[in-house]
Symmetry: C2
Subunit: 430 residues, 2 copies
């Protein structure tokens, strides 16, 4: 099958991630599409050591990619507003579909760009522009399309969330946390866009337009940053049962649509309060679905590229076979996979063993576990149970093969000291 | 624009939800599609008082809907395996697109149905079959299509999660919690499908096929229910820092693909551990995106219907305009919306007011708040600060209009006792 020919403008964090994904997962992606995706041309000032571009034609002339008649679709991963806009408009004028991750450009001048794409009959896709790897644009635009959206609240700037998490968990000041974010590469030398909420306001602008079907209106977003949040306030909030998060909020009220970005206290039990570090999450409330939440990495090379490549796949699926563009089971052909029997599965384990109190019973149990290469993570012996006269022993193990655990439990069950069926529950971490 | 003509088979919980959404949100849905969706025929044994079907033709003959040449697409919301299968195959044979929420049928006989749909060139959509209102099928199949999926762990049976949550938070036995679930309508009189994990295994089967592009293999899922979980184990787990959740897990390991449903200890801090009551959530780990999570209502009339209607919208968008089937900003035309100025926004508030300790200062502050109709939710006076000599007063307010709060803060700031700028952070709940 004829490959899809792709042009990439920009080879920074996101661009190199896209190259890496298209190389590493090319077989799976071809199986999803029924045809391969081929990088045909890249525009970049220089090669990026984070990806191997030796096989591709590299030009310094960005617009050459936008105009290249061989390309089916192009990616705008330059960032900034001026060249990026010229690139997108040129590509659209040349009949090419465009994928971009440029939230600032779309939030400030999106109306013009979407109009140009519509008139030219091409797709301008931008999943990566909001919340990195989380497919929140698709969820709002398609997955929740039955709903009248009532409200949306998002942690949509990872840098800000990292700083607030550090201030709370690491008991640091804002300045210390910001410095750490800069050292780890999460914050720019000039962190204004992130900490003053401008980046979040860009993303919120796009979410609001999609949620309510209204024009893109960046200038109307009320924006307040986190630079004035103090450790004292974070501590006070914690004592009262709250965490402070920097939220982008849109809400439909009787008066109209609210659009605002500001630090916000939310109760510790809420799902959004669990979102820590550089992670992002968006809570959406719809009249049919109720509350739903989308959580994941909001930035970074591979997560952002994950959304760029998803847009590429969406577009190619439509080019390929508009009527049945998404295979119902995700791949155009199924492929048998080796299935693992339960015996071979490895998990940690919780065990509750109820024993008659006798000298050496614990030694017998630990010896059996050790014979089956089962390491103990924690062990607790509880007080004797009044009615049964049995002593519960609680054990957490490290990871163990299921058949070893089955064999060990059978032996423990057979011990004369064991007075009840051994309770066993697997333990996992995700 | 010509309406899309829809046939509905089944008018139970999900069917009535679909009718309600299509009626209530018809204007928004038409704006998303550029054409209206019209219910043309319904097959049901009787009318359902939960929705108004007086305007539609109702037949008791399910297959009449599947054969009706006037219909563009039909919904299979009958449930069960026998009639539902005949309905779907008949509709496909008559060239109709089909939307279904029937996980049991798809997990057990999906291969045959998807093959028939493929051969007939029609779409068989099933977002509602897994995790109710959460668009997890779309996320896996499209949003995360760039990824090689490594693992997936889901709370995909609301009844089981409700029971486990009640056992933990309400300190009930399994039998008591089950009884409560039955009284609330969350569990059937015969709860086997839910509590023994069969329903979760049906859903996991579909997720596994989509995640790994492999055949649908329900019989290969290891399935263990929650009926043997005791309060004792839940308490022990809690003491060790864990919660017990009934998870569906698929994982790619060196040996192959694991597919299993069983009770599982997970650390209390994990996102999945926060999912309580009848809510569902699916954690997906991909090689590019890392960990991402999708949370929402897994059952119920409107949430499940939310996914059915999303499938309808997907299909109509493709019928309508295959090349640009999803409008980039979700709606085919934007519509101006009234925007709310920040002055008119209502939120609760956290205030930190640092005052010189003088008799009556608290009375002055509360009087100002009261003059602006601001109710106090909580108030704390802290110890005098050693360096500044100021006393911090922490106040949580109830919801208040922003301009009232601004005016009140200005007055408090102007009090002679106020010794530092008033710190103010909004407080929300989602």
């Amino acid at each position: 099958m004829k490959p899809v020919k792709l042009g990439i403008a920009g080879l920074g964090t996101v661009g190199s991630g896209v190259v890496n994904i298209l190389q590493k997962n090319c077989a799976d992606i071809e199986r999803r599409l029924g045809r391969p995706v081929q990088i045909q041309q890249i525009a970049a000032r220089r090669a990026n050591p984070l990806c191997d571009t030796s096989a591709y034609a590299i030009t310094q002339d960005v617009l050459a990619v936008a105009r290249n008649p061989e390309l089916d679709l192009v990616l705008e991963l330059i960032g900034g507003v001026t060249t990026a806009k010229e690139f997108i408009l040129t590509a659209i004028a040349h009949g090419k579909h465009v994928v971009t991750a440029n939230k600032a450009l779309l939030a400030e001048q999106g109306e013009e760009l979407f109009k140009a794409a519509h008139q030219a009959g091409v797709i301008l896709a931008f999943e990566a522009a909001v919340a990195g790897g989380i497919p929140i644009i698709k969820a709002l635009r398609e997955g929740l399309a039955a709903n009248r959206i009532q409200a949306l609240a998002g942690i949509i700037n990872g840098t800000g969330n990292f700083i607030l998490t550090e201030m709370e968990q690491g008991q640091r000041s804002f300045a210390e946390a910001l410095k750490q974010a800069q050292q780890l590469g999460y914050a720019e030398a000039d962190p204004t866009f992130d900490v003053e909420g401008i980046d979040a306001a860009h993303k919120l602008t796009l979410l609001a337009a999609i949620a309510f079907g209204m024009p893109i209106q960046f200038k109307r977003v009320f924006t307040e940053g986190i630079s004035k949040i103090t450790s004292v306030d974070i501590r006070n909030a914690a004592e009262l049962g709250y965490r402070i998060k920097h939220l982008g909020i849109i809400r439909r009220s009787a008066k109209g649509i609210e659009m605002r970005v500001h630090p916000t206290l939310i109760a510790k039990e809420e799902m959004l309060a669990q979102v820590n570090g550089v992670m992002n999450a968006v809570m959406v409330q719809g009249d049919a679905v109720g509350s739903s939440l989308y959580y994941g990495a909001g930035a970074g090379s591979l997560p952002t590229a994950s959304s760029v490549v998803a847009d590429i796949i969406d577009i190619v699926r439509i080019l390929e076979n508009p009527q049945q563009h998404v295979p119902p089971l995700a791949f155009s052909e199924t492929e048998e996979q080796a299935l693992v029997t339960m015996d071979e599965v490895e998990t940690a384990y919780y065990l509750r063993i109820e024993v008659h109190e006798k000298t050496g019973v614990l030694a017998h149990i630990t010896k059996i576990l050790s014979e089956h290469s089962i390491s103990i993570e924690a062990i607790r012996q509880q007080a004797v149970h009044r009615q049964s006269g049995l002593v519960p022993i609680i054990i957490l193990t490290q990871k163990v093969l299921e058949y070893e655990m089955n064999a060990a439990i059978a032996k423990i069950q057979a011990l004369p000291e064991t007075g009840a069926p051994v309770a066993r529950i697997r333990l996992e971490s995700f």
